[in-house]
């Protein structure tokens, strides 16, 4: 890539918008995922009885079962949220930058 192209893209307002919004979005989702997972690990380490509580009086199923399933689902949902935003908004911004460069 030529230095002039680099400078042109770097100063492009859409590029700055893309970099900034993607960075915030990706790191926020990363922090959410890490918080969910390590929150779970810390509960296991320090308050395991919490996960062993029955979901209702007399039930055998414990709170830990739905919590585990929800964490698995949350991993899937978070990746889904990222894909929908990236394949929509981020790709539109990228396309706009490319079109401006060719113009």
């Amino acid at each position: 890539m030529k230095q002039t192209t680099v400078d042109a893209i770097k100063d492009h307002p859409r590029y700055q918008e893309l970099v900034c919004s993607r960075k915030c979005f990706a790191w926020n989702l990363t922090v959410i995922m890490l918080a969910i997972y390590y929150g779970f690990i810390l509960v296991i380490a320090f308050a395991p009885k919490l996960l062993g509580t029955p979901i209702s009086p007399g039930a055998v199923t414990t709170v830990g079962i739905p919590v585990g399933i929800i964490i698995i689902l949350s991993a899937f949902i978070l990746t889904g949220i990222y894909v929908s935003k990236a394949n929509g908004k981020f790709d539109e911004l990228t396309k706009a930058i490319r079109e401006d460069l060719q113009a």
Binding site: V6, T30, L51, T62, G68, A75, D91
Partner: protein, 573 residues
């Protein structure tokens, strides 16, 4: 000491792709009589995949065809293939076995394996697709001194691949011996030869399709098993849990976290290795170059996360249902586990099972689907091993041909034809080495090897990759020292751990039990920070001319990384 022992067993059981868990390794594997249904089904699978390899071979001409299937795999197909790489025979057999033995702890491990995927998605998937061409070293060396950083990345890739392959080959030999009644060495040779054929002739196209077919077979088989098992409980999980608690020797303890509780540091360290190790495995990262662009790369992680999550929920159901259903089948237990009236003794439910807890899913297949379904699941387990070793070998061969040969030895002056030829020879060589080491390590304890592979991937590959993508001030020297520091500290700390120092090297404590020099079972909690600190320290202290080039190149790299501009030609199509 007890908690270390429990941890060792847990770890061995659960490390992905580990069929070589402690019970199977410590004693002689009892060879089964030939299972003809399983053998016919496996022959059908091999015939089908060889047909695909023939078709793929005709399409494989350029280097891009060989390494990345020409970049022509869709996001959905790649998602299945990634899931296939991850849903190994061992996560299937090992995790369902762990759920059978310990209940809820199995779910904790499944979650650890899964949560690396969102991180891959958010931080590296599309960046890798935009920056790289054939190997992840393309990405981590993008703006750095090629010779040094590529050599480092190739070395750590090969170390990861080597440990993984040995563990896989030994596990494959044992499992096939158990399932099909073949001799150990014959099983290892069959796996090695088929893997060489797939990779040498069909390259990434054949490897990908073998992986996709296997993933579909495994998902269908596991779904059938879980549904058939739930049918016994009128599709009520509460009813399944209630009966399992009654039958399990651990009682209601299987419904809550168990042995992980005592040791948060080890829990976190293993969590780090699983989460970030996934993001540093060369054969997984290579998958992102098989799709045409960043959009498809993202989709493939999304589908893969869905398939893997679904698969772990199935293994959880399978493990719990097995507690109840296998107890009704005394034929799956050793004679000493049975009471005088022929029923299974409660205390012997876990320890008395034929072939150890790794065989739980296989026995359940027979219990719910008869001999035909047993044959199907056995054949799928064999296919799974083949698919995973093929992907590993291709990743190792490309580290040799694309990184070491084309970029370091020939310094970019080689042509495509020579590079492909080198990678085919490398595949052949790796295949021979894998067969040789597989046979040599038959009676060795290799349980630590996959854990080590994950730790190296998390401590050497992942930090260099992430820092090179996101940190503008990183330099060649920082990458080189940081990468090697992660690699060496992961290896040294693993040698000092109980799994190697005690179990393999035979050092025992005052009570006669194996001991380690450190209490950590997985080095990640120390070795990952060591790598990042070295990258940071040696980069900021670096005032060489090379460092100026490295830093100046960041903007261009960042633009290509964010927008994909300049990456179009990456796939060569």
């Amino acid at each position: 000491m007890k908690r270390f022992a429990t941890w060792g067993v847990l770890f061995a059981l659960l490390t992905p792709f580990m069929i070589v868990a402690a019970p199977a390794l410590s004693g002689a594997v009892e060879q089964q009589s030939m299972n003809m249904t399983a053998i016919y089904m496996f022959i059908a699978f091999v015939a089908g995949t060889l047909g695909i390899t023939y078709w793929a071979a005709k399409r494989t001409r350029s280097a891009s065809d060989f390494y990345t299937a020409g970049g022509g795999i869709t996001g959905f197909q790649n998602g299945l293939a990634i899931a296939g790489d991850y849903m190994s025979a061992a996560s299937f057999l090992g995790i369902s076995g762990l759920v059978f033995a310990s209940g809820y702890d199995g779910l904790i491990y499944s979650i650890g394996f899964l949560v690396g995927w969102p991180i891959i998605m958010f931080l590296i998937a599309e960046q890798i697709r935009n920056l790289g061409k054939f190997t992840f070293a393309d990405v981590s060396s993008y703006r750095f001194g090629q010779t040094q950083v590529r050599t480092m990345a190739a070395v750590s890739s090969l170390v990861v691949v080597a440990f993984y392959l040995i563990a896989q080959m030994v596990g494959a030999g044992k499992l096939i011996q158990l399932l099909f009644g073949l001799d150990y060495w014959i099983a290892v040779v069959i796996v090695g030869v088929l893997m060489m054929v797939y990779v040498i002739f069909g390259g990434m196209t054949a490897t990908t399709w073998v992986q996709i077919i296997k993933a579909v077979l495994l998902l269908c088989g596991a779904t059938f098993m879980a549904v058939a098992a739930l049918n016994h409980f009128n599709f009520s999980p509460e009813e399944m849990f209630r009966q399992a608690v009654e039958i399990s020797p651990k009682g209601d303890a299987i419904m809550a976290p168990g042995s992980l509780v005592t040791d948060p540091i080890n829990a976190i360290s293993l969590g780090l290795a699983l989460m970030f190790g996934t993001a540093g495995l060369p054969h997984i990262l290579m998958r992102f170059f098989t799709v045409p662009d960043a959009k498809e790369a993202r989709k493939s992680v999304f589908y893969a996360t869905g398939f893997i999550g679904y698969f772990y929920i199935l293994t959880f159901i399978i493990g719990f249902a097995a507690i109840v259903l296998l107890a009704q089948h005394p034929e799956f237990f050793k004679p000493e586990a049975l009471a005088a009236d022929g029923t299974v003794i409660k205390a012997q439910l876990v320890s008395g099972i034929n072939g150890g807890t790794n065989m739980v899913a296989i026995h359940l297949a027979e219990a719910v689907g008869g001999n035909l379904f047993l044959g199907f699941i056995s054949a799928v387990a064999f296919a799974t091993i083949l698919a995973v070793v093929s992907g590993l070998t291709l990743a190792g061969a490309s580290a040799i041909s694309h990184d070491l040969y084309a970029s370091v030895i020939a310094r970019g002056r080689s042509n495509e034809t020579t590079e492909i030829r080198v990678s085919k020879f490398a595949t052949f060589g790796l295949g021979l080495v894998a067969i040789g080491l597989g046979i040599a390590f038959e009676s060795q304890n290799v349980a630590f090897m996959v854990g080590l592979a994950f730790a190296i991937a998390a401590s050497a590959n992942f930090p260099v990759l992430v820092a090179s993508i996101f940190w503008s001030k990183m330099t060649t020297r920082g990458a080189l020292i940081g990468g090697f520091a992660g690699l060496i500290s992961a290896v040294v700390l693993t040698i000092m751990s109980k799994a190697v120092w005690g179990d393999v090297l035979g050092n025992v404590g005052a009570d006669g039990k194996p001991v380690g020099l450190i209490f950590l079972n997985n080095p990640a909690i120390i070795s990952i920070p060591i790598s990042f600190v070295c990258i940071w320290l040696f980069s900021i202290l670096d005032s060489s001319d090379r460092a100026k080039i490295d830093r100046a190149a960041f903007d261009a790299q960042r633009i290509r990384c964010e927008t994909g501009i300049g990456a179009e030609g990456a796939s060569g199509h």
